[in-house]
């Protein structure tokens, strides 16, 4: 195998591949990236057995072939090469080494046989559709903060992507929750997605997927089966197993009868929450919201370290209410709001609270209060 490639193109492909590779590995081949050169392009393939990413880059292929080398090390080397360099990768099949040449630099890396590299079995995808990158970006960006890390409820360790009945008919919906907060984000249903089975996309896959969604103009081809999900751009294909479990019925979690409405400037609110929570010494960082006629007082009272209070002018016309929340959760949901005011809908100090942006119901957040 021998090919030459521009450093920038190589770095982009290798960087994507190495981020999938698990840092602590017991199976040596899983630390490697499979490089396959043929025609006028080279494919870089990496996997952790749950996620597989294949990145294709144009190259001048002199001799077709394939081998595997340590992904992290290859990435480090390419990263340190000078910008604009032409890199030549050569493997002659006898030495068990891959040589990397760029200008006066020469590296020789140990390889492992390409036959040992595990390739993810292909799947029959029941639904195939195409979605603009900004749509998927919004769905996952606004929901991923609520993904749980709790291992016992493994079925919460991802974003539940499915077809649901939204306000104006069928929608493509992403839901994530950890039991303390929940995010429900809707997007218009792309053509071809109707038949899609609901799948739980794992946290790590969501992170990898994000790298495919930077380009506003890109169309992402999405394929879904009961066990796998695939996201593809012309250059990169990300295939992932989905979490084998049942996502809980989140619909009964979303309150429908909350009538006490608070409207507040989200960024002013977030800044005030951040300020008062500074004095909180506890791990849970409870903030108390005291609501009265067009007035919101945020306060923290920490017996060990001190107290803080801040008043905000808000729109609120219901009865007096005192309710406590984890400051971190409030900050996270407030930071999802980017265009209009944040609208909070409360019931009582013990019931889940709903938050949305203005009157937009395509992004809804639920947060559980805490005792203060």
């Amino acid at each position: 195998m021998k090919f030459s490639i521009e450093r920038g193109a190589l770095l982009k492909a290798v960087a994507q591949a190495q981020s999938v590779v698990e840092r602590r590995n017991t199976i040596p081949i899983l630390a490697n990236v499979l490089i396959e050169a043929s025609g006028d392009s080279v494919q870089f393939r990496a996997t952790d057995l749950d996620i597989e990413v294949v990145d294709k880059a144009p190259a001048m292929v002199e001799r077709a072939g394939a081998t595997t080398v340590a992904a992290v090390m290859l990435n480090e080397i390419v990263r340190k090469l000078p910008d604009g360099a032409l890199v030549t990768l050569t493997e002659n099949g006898q030495t068990g080494r891959l040589s990397i040449d760029a200008g006066r630099s020469n590296f020789s890396l140990a390889t492992l046989p390409k036959e040992d590299f595990p390739v993810m079995a292909s799947s029959e995808y029941a639904a195939n559709f195409s979605a603009p990158a900004p749509v998927l970006r919004r769905l996952f960006d606004k929901s991923k903060f609520a993904i749980s890390t709790e291992e016992t409820r493994y079925y919460l360790n991802g974003v539940y992507m499915h077809v649901a009945d939204g306000e104006g008919g069928k929608v493509l919906r992403c839901v994530a929750t950890d039991g303390h907060r929940l995010a429900r984000i809707d997007a218009p249903l792309p053509e071809g997605a109707e038949k899609m089975a609901g799948v739980i996309v794992p946290r790590k896959t969501v992170g990898e997927l994000r790298k495919l969604l930077e380009d506003d103009e890109a169309k992402i081809a999405v394929s879904v089966s009961e066990t796998k999900v695939r996201f593809a751009t012309p250059g990169i294909t990300l295939t992932s197993k989905v979490i084998d479990g049942t996502f809980p019925d989140y619909t009964r979690v979303i309150p429908t009868g909350n009538t006490r409405k608070l409207e507040v400037d989200a960024s002013e609110f977030a800044k005030a929450v951040d300020r008062v929570s500074t004095v909180s010494s506890e791990r849970s960082r409870a903030v108390k919201l005291s609501l009265d006629e067009d007035r919101l007082v945020l306060s923290v009272n920490s017996p060990d370290s001190g107290a803080a209070e801040e008043e905000l002018a808000v729109a609120y016309s219901d009865e007096r209410l005192e309710i406590g929340f984890n400051a971190k959760y409030l900050l996270e949901i407030a930071s999802q709001v980017d265009r209009e005011n944040a609208v909070f809908l409360f019931n009582s100090s013990g019931d889940p609270t709903l938050m949305r942006e203005g009157n937009d119901t395509s992004a809804v957040y639920v947060v559980m209060p805490m005792r203060v």
Partner: protein, 417 residues
């Protein structure tokens, strides 16, 4: 010589009977009104609580412990006369005392009684260091002016009040450090009041065996015996350097203890590291329903102890001993500390379900660790378990009922498994 009547709390100068009430329960000692470090040890605590709560047991030998295969947790003084001792296997205890009434431990009742005793101790001094439910150190230095009475009088009043108000008895050891106070409380049980003064400390210890030292168990006794050390007298002959060279850090401590010196302070804030309870089954079992019942009962006991101390734990632990004596233990971190029996039970039960082992088991234990104050405990609800809040309220209501009407006033069906 200063003397004190432990019945009417009269103080006087010497004599074997109280000049006022003629009681023979008199303690006299030259340093009686100068010493301030005390150790209080309840007499056969669990058994005394049982006898108090069930007068029918009063004149019978009572053994607290679980099942035929368990061990004796506490024996009352009647059973002790027959030779029954704590930690003795139950079958052996029954051989010595076949007529004994065996009572299963009721931890919640003991926790409640312990809290009552603790409240009385807290009236004496802010520096109370509990060692367990039934014993504690107290530092009464500087309290004489507050109480207008020397520590000895206040301690005699404490045990008198325990007897009058709580129906429980205890023994007091009064001395000038923790080591000696604890030794003293054991000299004259039950209902004892012993004093070890500074002047006689070395002479008192001289012919005592080294096993008197708390923490010197059979293994340590053996290694000391190998060096020819059996009594405090043997210990006294050693240089500090030689002791340290041979026994490390313990050597230096032994050198000081040989002279009756113990610089440890009494600390009211000894952190509790974990709270756990375990039970040995009557017969080995792998029946999930039976195990479930045990998990619930133990979760309740652990929860009761945590609540009694205003503590909560962030980690739930499950321990199982298989029939082949292999120990399996599992732990799970929670998102917030808990003291709820319901949460402890559910978590421990999930750990059992995930164990992937079929048993059978002879012992099961449930515990909490990473103990914190209960201020942060159970503050956040779970969106996906909307009933959790209602169960927590039910548990709080049940706790109030038990506080008022006794531990068995209300039970979950699960506890009968």
């Amino acid at each position: 010589m200063p003397a004190l009547c432990r019945d009417c709390l009269t103080t006087f100068e010497a004599g074997t009977r109280c000049p006022r009430c003629r009681s023979p329960r008199v303690t006299s000692h030259p340093e009686l009104f100068d010493l301030t470090i005390a150790h209080m040890d309840c007499d056969a605590f669990y058994a005394s609580v049982e006898k108090r709560d069930n007068p029918e047991l009063r004149d019978k030998p009572v053994i607290i412990g679980g099942g035929k295969r368990g061990v004796v947790s506490t024996a009352c003084y009647i059973a002790r006369i027959k030779g029954v001792k704590s930690a003795m296997p139950m079958f052996q205890a029954l051989k010595l005392c076949p007529e004994a009434v065996i009572v299963r431990p009721r931890m919640e009742a003991y926790v409640a009684a312990s809290r009552e005793v603790r409240a009385l101790m807290d009236e004496l001094t802010p520096v109370v260091e509990p060692l367990s439910l039934d014993e504690a150190f107290m530092d009464l230095s500087g309290t004489a002016r507050l109480h207008h009475a020397p520590p000895a009088v206040m301690l005699a009043r404490l045990v008198k009040r325990m007897r009058d108000e709580l129906g429980l008895t205890g023994s007091i050891g009064l001395s000038h450090n923790k080591f000696l106070a604890k030794v003293a409380s054991d000299l004259d049980k039950p209902r004892g009041f012993s004093v070890i003064g500074k002047a006689e400390t070395v002479e008192f210890l001289r012919h005592k065996p080294v096993r008197l030292i708390w923490g010197i168990g059979p293994a340590a006794q053996e290694s000391l015996a190998a060096a020819g050390i059996r009594s405090f007298n043997d210990l006294h002959r050693w240089d500090k350097a030689d002791l340290t060279a041979r026994f490390g850090g313990m050597g230096e401590r032994l050198w000081h203890l040989a002279r009756g010196e113990d610089a440890r302070r009494i600390s009211a804030h000894t952190p509790v590291k974990s709270i756990s309870n375990e039970t040995t089954f009557f017969e080995d079992t792998s029946d999930p329903d039976i195990l479930d019942g045990h998990i619930w009962r133990l979760a309740e006991q652990v929860s009761a102890r945590a609540k009694a101390r205003d503590r909560a734990g962030r980690v739930v632990m499950l321990k199982l001993k298989r029939a082949d004596h292999k120990i399996l233990s599992r732990r799970l971190s929670l998102r917030q500390p808990t003291q709820l029996a319901d949460t402890i039970y559910r978590t421990a039960r999930a750990l059992l379900d995930e164990l992937g082992d079929r048993g059978p088991y002879r012992l099961l234990g449930v515990g909490l660790s990473e103990i914190t104050t209960d201020r942060d405990a159970d503050r956040e609800g779970d969106l996906l378990d909307p009933d959790a809040g209602r169960r927590a309220k039910a548990e709080a209501a049940a706790d109030r009922i038990r506080d008022k009407f006794g531990k068995d006033a209300i039970l979950k069906g699960r506890a009968l498994r």
